[in-house]
Amino acid sequence: MWNWDYAFSILPQILAALKITVSATFFGFLLALLLGLILSILIRADIKAVSLAVKGIVQFIRNTPLLVQLYFIFYVFPQFGITFKPFTAGILGLGIHYSTYLSEVFRSGIEAVPAGQWEVVKALNFSQPQAWTKIILPQVIPPIIPVIGNYLITMFKETPLLSAITLVEILQTAKIIGAGSFRYLEGFTIVGVVFFLLSYSSSQLIKKLEVRLGKSN
């Protein structure tokens, strides 16, 4: 059944496609972090209407499937004149979807900062942006790094969804190879192993980080 020679012959092609998967994950996650932070700060806004509107949007996005969102961005938006390349659409979809989860992570991290920090920051006359960047966020981020890391891994494992909007990432590449040679076993196995190796080693890295962060606190 399993053919090593064949497996090695298709390996370079699959690994080349890994670049697409990894960069989609990287940029998608970057967007998710940025948007997530903005959402979590907006949810805290003093203006009730803003806070409620943002909360509503977050709930809506979180409770609809990522695949549906990807289809909207890639197939529906063009009907309104907004067209994206598959890669861009994929990053947008991943970024927006995961920003709603990350906003929740940021929110709980921000709430964990004692109220006294906000008071002393005011007493020392920091502006709001100064307070956020110098005092609050540096206290928010270290404790939530492990949770953020786990979302990164989850997102990474969801990138094969992007094949549904025609992005030729690693799984799609294996499928195309399989369709040409009528051998699917090796290709899909390699894809599975690659995902496992990267996810598992990342999760071990996060665990180590968690221990280190726990010690320094």
Partner: protein, 255 residues
């Protein structure tokens, strides 16, 4: 002399609970005023209003002749905006009961951060000032230590240095030693006493340390149920209390 701080008919309520009742209170430049009184009588609230951490329900506060929560624009009193509040806060500093040091920064960074970020000082200059201030509070050997490694008394002295380095004209101390183990109270009081004696800063001190208040205060105000029930020189307040309330309150400290 015109007051540096003037509370005028200030009322503050949390929901139904009236915490400050039509308070009129003046503090003069350079004056060291001690606030004493039972807990829950509104002392902290009075200080927090001045630090702009709370807004009064009615009345006005003037600091250095300008409205704190209100500003006059074309002869009309309007609610102060963020910019005005930031301008006013330059004159005021506060030391809290629970220190609130920045846990992610060393002692030196705790003291340097606001001068660099808020006042725009160069790192070099801020560092010099911070080191000098930490030396003054007796922590010149703890510059690179993180707050978690300090005792309560050391933490509070860092907090004092951090507030002082901003050079406020008015300093508020809200029970600076109440969260400390008894054996650490002395070192903090010593530092505050030194500052009080050598500087012409205006100081408002909320404290339960009666001997300390007697020693450094020019004037003592006794708070009771949201009003200033009695005030006078330390001699008047501690040796010749007039109201039964104050007599009862003081008797608890001299059993």
């Amino acid at each position: 002399m015109t007051p540096i701080v003037s509370y005028k008919n200030i009322t503050k309520a949390y929901g139904e609970l009236e915490v400050l009742k039509e308070i009129d209170f003046d503090i003069y430049p350079g004056e060291k005023v001690a606030l004493i009184g039972p807990s829950g009588s509104g002392k902290t609230t009075l200080a927090r209003l001045l630090m702009t951490l709370e807004e009064p329900n009615s009345g006005t506060i003037e600091v250095e002749g300008k409205g704190l929560w209100h500003e006059e624009i074309n002869g009309k009193l309007v609610k102060a905006n963020g910019k005005h509040l930031r301008e006013m806060r330059k004159s005021i500093g506060m030391v809290f009961q629970h220190f609130y040091l920045f846990p992610h920064m060393t002692v030196l960074k705790n003291v340097m951060e606001a001068p660099v970020t808020v006042l725009g000082l160069s790192k070099k200059k801020a560092r010099l000032q911070a080191e000098e201030m930490l030396e003054k509070v007796g922590l010149g050997d703890k510059l690179d230590v993180y707050p978690a490694q300090l005792s309560g008394g050391q933490k509070q002295r860092v907090a004092i240095a951090r507030a002082l380095v901003m050079k406020p004209n008015i300093m508020l101390f809200d029970e600076p030693t109440s969260a400390l183990d008894p054996e650490l109270v002395g070192e903090v009081l010593e530092v505050i006493k030194e500052i009080a004696l050598e500087s012409d800063m205006t100081m408002l001190l909320i404290t339960h340390e009666m001997d300390f208040a007697k020693e450094i205060a020019d004037r003592v105000a006794f708070f009771n149920e949201g009003t200033i029930a009695e005030q006078g020189t330390p001699e008047e307040i501690f040796n010749h209390p007039k109201t039964p309330r104050l007599q009862t309150f003081l008797s608890r400290f001299n059993p």
